[in-house]
Amino acid sequence: MDEREMSWFCAYTPVELLAAAGFRPVRRFGYPHGLEAADTYLHPALCPYVRACLAEALNGDAPRHAVFVNCCDGMRRLHDAWGDLFPGSFSFLLDLPRNPGGRGREILKLEFHRLLRALEEYAGLTVEAEDLHRACRESSELRLSYIRAAEGKAGVARVELAQETQEYRFPLEVEENRGKEGGVPVLLTGNLLNPRGLVAFLERAGARVVWADLCNGDRPFTAESPVEGEDVPRMLESLAAHYLERHPCARMADGERRYRLLAERFKASGARGVIYASLKFCDSYLYDFPRLEVRLRREGIPLLRLESDYADGHAGQLLTRVEAFLEMIAGD
């Protein structure tokens, strides 16, 4: 196991800080097919993604150093279990405000400071402005490289590309794969989905996912503002604003902005309908759906709701509903 590897799980993790402190940030996606291994530590009615990540760590495959974000009950529970199971590893719980405004930015900046200090202490070094500049530049290049490589890609190929980029691999290194051609263009929105599970199933059913509004899809690459500043404190302030500028997760307080951005993206992407798919037991999305449904209905945007258990072994049962939906929107 590489001691420099640092696991992270939530898309609001400031990977730039991890990289600036000399760690290799790796987003974990866990074992979607083996999450029962975590049952002793995490209740089965918790998010399957966090259970899958713990199952992977229990098997010894994942680096144990980890940064968690206090973004939801599920992630907080993963942090609890992880700290208890791997007491010798670096573990940090970063707070994430729900409010994206001025006070939220101030909170996030303070949290970034705190994380940076903890990383410096653990690594036994001091992060200079130059280190942080370099990490932010690299992150920006990764983002641009993703946007270029994702052009024209859909479905599994698109989400896998996003995941690989989140693993800090430049898309240029990724095998050229434009994904399956054809299909009915749809916008997929939700939390985090298994590209080889539900996303692949949708592709097989005839959907062409042209935009993946997922935290392991396009969402992490949506903040355009550059991270600037002459010194570390100013850069942290700018970085906090950058993270809060992204298309928000449903857990954030700016739901209105989320719905507006989604509707705009729908129009720009040429999608004919929206598929709302989320992992089971994710409260942020369970409570979000009725609000989103009202808005999309008002805008006349067709909507289909699906649910995922992350492994998606039973996705075939959804085939009739998905085919009927695709048929309906294709005929419009």
Binding site: H43, L46, G83, D283, R291
Partner: protein
Amino acid sequence: MTVENEGGLLEAIRDRYLEKLSPEIFRSRLFWKTVEGLARSPLNRPQWKADRVSLTHFIRVTRDAYLGKAPVVWCNLLVPSELIHGLGCLPFYPEMAAAVTASAGLAPRFIDRAVEEGFSNDACSYHRCLLGCAVEGFLPKPDLLLSVNYPCDSAVLSFAFLSELYGVPHLEVDVPLPGREEQLPLLAGQLEEAASLMAGISGRRREGMMQGLAEAIELSNRALEYLHRVEEMRKREDCILDGRDAMGNLSVLAGCMGSEAGVEFYRLLAEELEERGCRGPQSLRLMWMHLKPWYAQSIFHILEKYGARLVCEEYTHATWEPMDPGDPFASLALKLESHFLVGPAERRAAHLARLAEEYRVDGAIHFNHWGCRQSCGGAPLVKKALQEKGVPVLIIDGDCVDQREYQEGQISTRLEAFLESLG
């Protein structure tokens, strides 16, 4: 309302009004006159004098909220009630309303209504129930929704929906993780923002706002002193106040601090405990974690059969220090931040391990409320912390609000086996 204690009263109201149950009834003065009459009648036989105080308080506040006598602020469990009372607003706790609905046996209808609205069966039934009640128009219309980001995500998220349903603002307060002293001024700033918003709604100037808050904090401090006396009494051998009755006092702890009723409730309870002394029979001493099912079930009969009593509960204890009336926002920020449900589960586990030790419990029961990622999620860590202290733990899966999810046979068998093992 201390829901368990008012079971007879709720039944009477239900029997009288069930057939005619409609949102309009709650906005009728006649209905509230009847409720107040019933509360004063022999039908209401509270176990403790203090319960009459809390009942009268909650009936008055709820009545006024329905009749629109003052601005109504909906809060989730950890919003400090001093903030609302101090601004002359009426706090309304929809999660408690869900518990009252469940204790009247009416929750399934509203839960199903929320599901029809698009809410998932995997979401917490407290929130599905309150959302169903709200969608059907049964709850008093809020002027403001105020939530804090603990103890769980559900409240913040369901309030976001309710804000749109009622067309009123929703203020979400971000409470920092433990040990973030540098963020306490930001938390105080958020509370001040909430207070200013309420002052605007209730027409108070800043001076009146600060005076109201100072008074509320003084009342809260007085109630806290009495609460400490209650806690000391409950630590004594065989104190006669059982958790079965005391668990509902969470509503007082959450909703009455900062009001005269809060002071009076804990004063009377402390005095009555001191008067009646500790004459209970020798028994197994148990701690209850999370909440109980509010509808009728057999758990407490089984405990009684085995001579077991609940000597303490997770949510009914003081978790903060006396506050400074001259510095309300910083004080309330500290009160909020110091709550054991804020932050990682190890803080909650430490709180429960401390209670187990102070109350010398023989065993502990954790009720895993379906859909509660906070309590179910933290249960393994809590169990471990207690077992390290030598306290056996039983984890029961169930649902506090939806009686259809209560597995009578399975729960009874597991509970009896646990109690037998404690001997």
